[in-house]
Symmetry: C2
Subunit: 429 residues, 2 copies
């Protein structure tokens, strides 16, 4: 065990978690009423503190990296875990960016007056207490804590055990910022026991004191949280994104967009996994696309119709069309028309982001209306599926659920609303 | 067993429920794309059909009433269960009112363009499939089915077994309306087995095909649904509403409002259960209020300070302050100031509806900001806590949860959103 890890007896674990919940609820009362200036001050002080203690954070991260190496973690996991001075500066800059965002609390969605003179307003307020469960990236400790604070929510953070020391060091900088601004340090709590049962308690035992669970990580983590939680879950499952090249697509634009949608970054959830091509243009378009993707180092898996048009394309299985590759691999399929494209996306998609490429605005309008995904695009790259690109500032993830928040989740989506009703003495007849 | 009740073997029950889910999901795809006119046509045809078959509905209800009498159900339950021609006309009028509401699907919450030229719109879309579990009132079959249809959602309805025959008769009128409009009759399905295990399947076994569960009924039903469901729940728990008489309240207005807030209808969730009175005005105000409430037939339970001011007031226990009486009983308490009032509401309230009576606008603003309830009111009756009064048309209930929808839930709140992104070929740098 390294410095910050502790083991607790089962009964102690239960009371430890119960106590975290109570403290978070108490802190959420103070946060609910905290003004925008105080929250921004806390966030900019956190950034300052991250820079001040960057050596402590690097040392803590070195401990985590040593354990990770000894456990034989994969290169990708080591990369996610590793911090360096650039990444620490990135954390500080991220905190400052969140400090600078408009405060979502207190903003009025709408105001209206009924014929009887009662005036109603729908006002944004914090949700309360958010439990955040995430895996190896230590920067999520800062991002999640900051977005919860910005939106007036207290949070309980549970990072991956492999990043335990790094998370602690970053968390200390966050609580220092809270204290300087006069906000309760319990507003952002980090679960300090490495007992795996702590997550179970968070998911099932704290339903009076935690209002929402946000898991961020691999599919198995999300599935476990969704099946175990007794508290509402805002889940980001997977991005099985499609780009559909309609018969009336502009060829040069389509090639440029697909290259970007697939290859700009292959590991992000907004990257295109499947390209659907209208039969009417397939003979001309498919070989050009295949040559361009091949030159860019992308493997292509397609149906027989595709493979007849380019030798670069290897066979696709049904499983491929259901797989979020997150790699330089793309599925391809020739479709008869928009109906077949819509049916394919309905069957194989994950409701994340899907795009049509066409110059026919009626067809585009139909696609945008009929696709049942969080993000429906026309003539652009699915890699724009990102809260920053939407103008939300930072994002805590992209929700593939249908309730409360869908698509990119920024600070504004971590709020709920209440109604105020103003009257001059009316009574109900 | 009466005509429409069936029992199924366990394995058959599972496949029966699974089948309901699949059919609902398929119907939801058609409903998602149904236009406003078609849905309104279905709703007005349902109203017509309810009137046409009103004798069948009355006969079915007579069967239910006979069983209910033989089981010795309470007078209040019998009243909730009973239909007569006025109530059936009320159901038809309700359906027509929902037909006439604006269609919430496709409405655009906001549109904005980012500096790179991408145009984003946040568009209202149906949630998908809603499971609705309710108790004895047969009219809920029509209200719930109609509100789900209006918002483009398929629904699976599970009414109380005591209203089984009435629900079936009403349900037949609803599916007739769907068919006339060319919509799938599976858009509104009623669970026809009386096996109690069906609810368990609905709550836990259909999470791929049901997106949201809405329970409507007593506290024990809601608690069971919340603890068992593996699907998001939109719950209406209870309305423990407060009216706080601030020192600067206008006396005549305050008396009139409290009488209305408590006594207009005592059985609704928006009725005031506790009146808090500022100490500064208690000596004058309390006896006047006690006399007025006493004259109106309301029992009063209060703390020692209250009881010193009126002999009408009997002692209140801590449990009283936690009880939604739903009867001509009100709790009273003298408080030192707004801070003590806020603390009382925070401790004893249910986050439903709370009101301040004052002529001091600064104090009112503070109360409206600081109270963490779905509905926060100034100088009016808590009995205005009703979707109709908000202008939402019909309501399916009042949500006391914090996520997705809070307060009165109308057709518009049974939608979620998606984003459309329109571009002229931009790629992400």
């Amino acid at each position: 065990m390294t410095q910050s890890e502790t083991h607790l007896l089962d009964t102690n674990l239960e009371s430890y978690m119960f106590d975290l919940g109570k403290k978070a609820r108490a802190a959420s009362r103070a946060l609910r009423l905290a003004d925008a200036k105080t929250k921004s001050l806390a966030l900019s002080q956190m950034a300052k503190e991250v820079r001040t203690v960057s050596n402590d954070i690097l040392n803590a991260n070195a401990l985590d990296m040593k354990v990770a190496h000894s456990k034989g973690l994969s290169g990708a996991m080591l990369d996610r875990l590793e911090l360096n001075s650039d990444r620490i500066e990135g954390i500080a800059v991220g905190l400052e960016a969140i400090a600078a965002l408009p405060d979502p609390v207190g903003s009025v969605d709408e105001t209206w007056t009924q014929p009887n003179g009662l005036t109603f307003s729908k006002v944004r307020v914090p949700i309360g207490v958010i439990g955040m469960i995430y895996e190896s990236r230590p920067n999520v400790t800062a991002d999640a804590g900051a977005l919860c604070l910005k939106s007036g929510n207290a949070c309980i953070l549970r990072g991956g055990s492999e990043s335990s020391n790094s998370n602690h060091a970053i968390h200390r900088a966050l609580t220092a910022g809270l204290e300087i601004a006069g906000l309760p340090s319990d507003a952002i709590q980090l679960i300090t026991t490495i007992d795996r049962a702590a997550v179970g308690h968070l998911l099932t035992g704290l339903n009076n004191d935690v209002d929402l669970i946000i898991p961020r990580g691999g599919k198995s983590l999300i599935k476990r949280v969704q099946s175990d939680a007794r508290i509402p879950v805002l889940a980001h499952l997977e991005g099985l994104c499609h780009t559909y090249v309609h018969a009336a697509a502009e060829e040069t634009m389509a090639l440029k967009i697909i290259l970007n949608a697939k290859m700009r970054r292959t590991g992000v959830c907004g990257s295109t996994e499947t390209v659907l091509i209208d039969r009417a243009i397939a003979e001309v378009f498919t070989p050009k696309l295949a040559d361009a993707l091949n030159a860019a180092g992308c493997e292509m898996r397609g149906d027989t119709d595709c493979r007849d048009l380019s030798t670069h394309i290897i066979p696709a299985t049904d499983t491929d069309y259901l797989t979020e590759h997150l790699a330089a691999i793309v599925n391809m399929r020739i479709v008869d028309d928009i109906n077949m494209a819509l049916a394919h996306i309905d069957t194989y998609g994950s409701g994340h982001t899907d795009c049509i490429l066409t110059e026919d605005n009626d067809i585009a309008t139909r696609f945008l209306r009929d696709i049942d995904s969080a993000i429906c695009m026309h003539n652009t790259s699915t890699q724009f599926a990102d809260g920053g690109e939407f103008g939300f500032g930072a994002e805590i993830g992209i929700s593939t659920g249908r309730l409360h928040a869908r698509g990119p989740v920024g600070a504004q989506h971590l709020t709920t609303y209440k109604y105020t009703v103003q009257s001059s003495g009316q009574i109900r007849p």
